[in-house]
């Protein structure tokens, strides 16, 4: 019997899918601080470590800042390390996100997308994670609970190959607290995919060094250059590892997911669980004969410029639907997509839609409305608000 046939099939909330992913990855140190909607990840992991189901130290810290600081340290002390957070918590971690990158700590963090206060709002929005764009973390967005579990495992593999911290992102409640059928792979198979963690610069008592020592201008820039190179490498590693994952586990992921794009003139670009809604809407539009498809961005950092150009070049129009906003400019995926397309051949006009902030529903009809709005428009605009009462 092939190992994969020993998989367990169950129904899991997104947060529990994370926990099972962490368990399968044999994480050794976990540190987290309660914040809705991440909390149930910590709870499940606390259970798992308490029962011994997962052999790891769970540090119940006093803040998210400490949560990330603890796992950066444990990661550089040679233990596979994990944390999870959302929104305010992620914002509080900001300083240490840079630190993780600079220290090349391949920690994996799950961020459950949640809007930032005020007003207090616990519902989904991508601005929290996208605001950490320049911290040097890999960011991988997810559409389903199965994908969440798969990506958690993949994240460790990729992070530990390029020594960069990696953020796995899922939507508040829509994924985190919603149950879906999930396949939990046999441990042996995951072990085969994900070897034990080692870091060549980890704390070593036999060869004592200072980790993270200050560097003068004559060396600092070379270290930064190397981080950029690692990000470029990460793009290749992502492709390799998703290929291998597909081979071993039967699920194929890519930097971007292409849906009904073969003959599409119009492309909707989005990320996260909204893609599921959009796919439903696009299927309806296709039935009406509309030549429309979807490009779902999965890998946000490093940004898959080549793939985005390959997919979008030559289309008639492109609409980017952002559940996030960079105040004073536009939606962030829109901004990134546009920047990627600059200089590409046969560049289509790109329209920027902002919808569903603070967890406001994006319904199939909203997708259809935005599509039709795009078709009508001649000149692209940076921000086209969807559903806001002006």
């Amino acid at each position: 019997m092939k190992l994969i046939e020993k998989s367990q099939y169950t129904v899991l909330k997104g947060n529990y899918a994370v926990a099972y992913g962490v368990k399968l990855a044999r994480v050794e140190v976990i540190s987290a601080y309660p914040i809705t909607p991440q909390t149930t990840i910590s709870e499940k992991l606390a259970d798992m470590t308490a029962t011994g189901e997962l052999k790891a130290r769970f540090i119940t810290v006093e803040s998210e800042h400490s949560a990330i600081s603890a796992v950066i340290a444990s990661s550089l002390a040679g233990a596979r390390s994990f944390t999870a957070t959302a929104s305010q918590g992620l914002a509080l971690m900001h300083e240490m996100l840079h630190w993780a990158t600079g220290a090349r700590a391949p920690v994996v963090m799950v961020n459950v997308n949640r809007a930032l206060a005020p007003s207090w709002n616990i519902w989904t929005e991508q601005t929290d994670s996208l605001a950490q764009r320049d911290t040097g973390w890999l960011q991988i967005y997810n559409e389903s609970n199965q994908e969440v579990l798969d990506t958690t495992i993949l994240a460790f593999k990729i992070a530990e190959r390029v020594y960069l911290p990696t953020m796995v992102v899922l939507d508040a409640f829509i994924l985190s607290h919603t149950s879906e059928p999930v396949e939990i792979y046999p441990q042996e198979l995951v072990d085969e995919f994900l070897p034990p963690y080692e870091h060549p610069n980890a704390i070593n008592f036999d060869d004592p060094r200072a980790i993270g020592a200050f560097a003068r201008p004559d060396y600092y820039m070379e270290f930064r250059y190397n981080i950029q190179k690692a990000h470029e490498e990460a793009l290749r590693v992502f492709k390799e590892e998703t290929e291998l994952f597909a081979e071993m586990f039967g699920r194929k992921y890519d930097t971007v997911e292409e849906f009904m794009l073969d003959d599409a003139d119009y492309v909707l670009v989005l990320a996260g669980s909204t893609a599921t809604t959009a796919k439903y809407a696009v299927a309806q539009l296709r039935e009406r004969g509309e030549k429309v498809g979807i490009m779902r961005i999965k890998l946000f950092r490093p940004f898959p410029v080549e793939d985005v150009r390959r997919v979008l070049s030559g289309r008639k129009k492109v609409a980017v639907i952002d559940r996030n906003l960079s105040f004073g400019h536009s939606g962030i995926f829109y901004m990134e997509t546009k920047a990627a397309m600059y200089g590409a051949k046969d560049r289509p006009p790109i329209f920027g839609y902002v919808a569903g902030l603070g967890g406001r529903d994006i319904r199939p009809q909203d997708i259809i409305d935005m599509y039709e709005d795009m078709k009508r428009r001649e000149e692209p605009e940076n921000i086209i608000w969807k559903g806001v009462r002006v």
């Binding site: 002390a77 200050f214 003068r216």
Partner: protein, 315 residues
Amino acid sequence: MSWAWVEVKPNENDLLHPGHLACQGCGATITARLALKVFGKNAVFVIPASCWSVIDGAWPQHALQIPVFHTAFETAAIAATGIRAALDMKGRHDVHVVAWAGDGGTFDIGLQALSGAAERNENIIYITYDNEAYMNTGIQRSSSTPLGAWTTTTPDERPEDRPKKNMMEILAAHRVPYAATASIAYPDDFIRKLKKATQIKGFRFIHVFSPCPPGWKMASNLSVRVARMAVETKVFPLYEIEDGEVYTITHWPKGLPVEEYFKLQGRFKPVLKDPERLAYVQRYIEAQWERLVRLHEASHGYLPEEARATLRSAI
């Protein structure tokens, strides 16, 4: 035969290489040298933003011959916790994880993480080398800056008007198994406390008085002398608290007037010029000392003879 040899053995665990970047006469560096005498190679230092971020050397060099983990300002205690967790998972129970922070990183910005780790009784040793201000950034006040002191943010016209934060009491309130003060001027006492700390499991805190010649406006050769005077004037008593309850004064000072300590440093010039203020500082010191002596008495049920002398001199 000097008293110093009682605890310090020559050429044993000299794990600090010269060439490091500390200023002349750096107390924090003496603190580290003495600590390494006890820890040997079986320790990792977790160093948050502080003078020691610089002292250890600029990349690619390091001075400490043990592993060092540099971390952000407020994270000494938690980074140490993380390393402890990882080493425990790897079965390395034989090594000490030492958070090595300045006063700013302990009393101020690092207090949250410190409190968390102390409350969870993390199995780490937290050592704060206290130079009573933000020295690495150029002498700004911290909550460790003592009453009457000059810093660049408490200038002569408005010297520090609040007493130094009592970290030991904060730690005692966490009921940690071991908290102690120490001074570079009393290596035997410091080393004994370090040895004691290494034999205890759980959160251990050592507050080491580490003078800073440039920050205290004094000649670099006075580091140790000034530390000694701080102890002998009762400004910085040497004591330990076990389980947050049992107070033990480990050195009974001569009880010299506080001027003896102040006059060695330029930073106390404003208070030395103001007799009323000086008297107030002296009264404050006496009150704090009296309180400490009473806690010692309450813990042990009696006071040694030398204790009474220090109280009498209070009048």
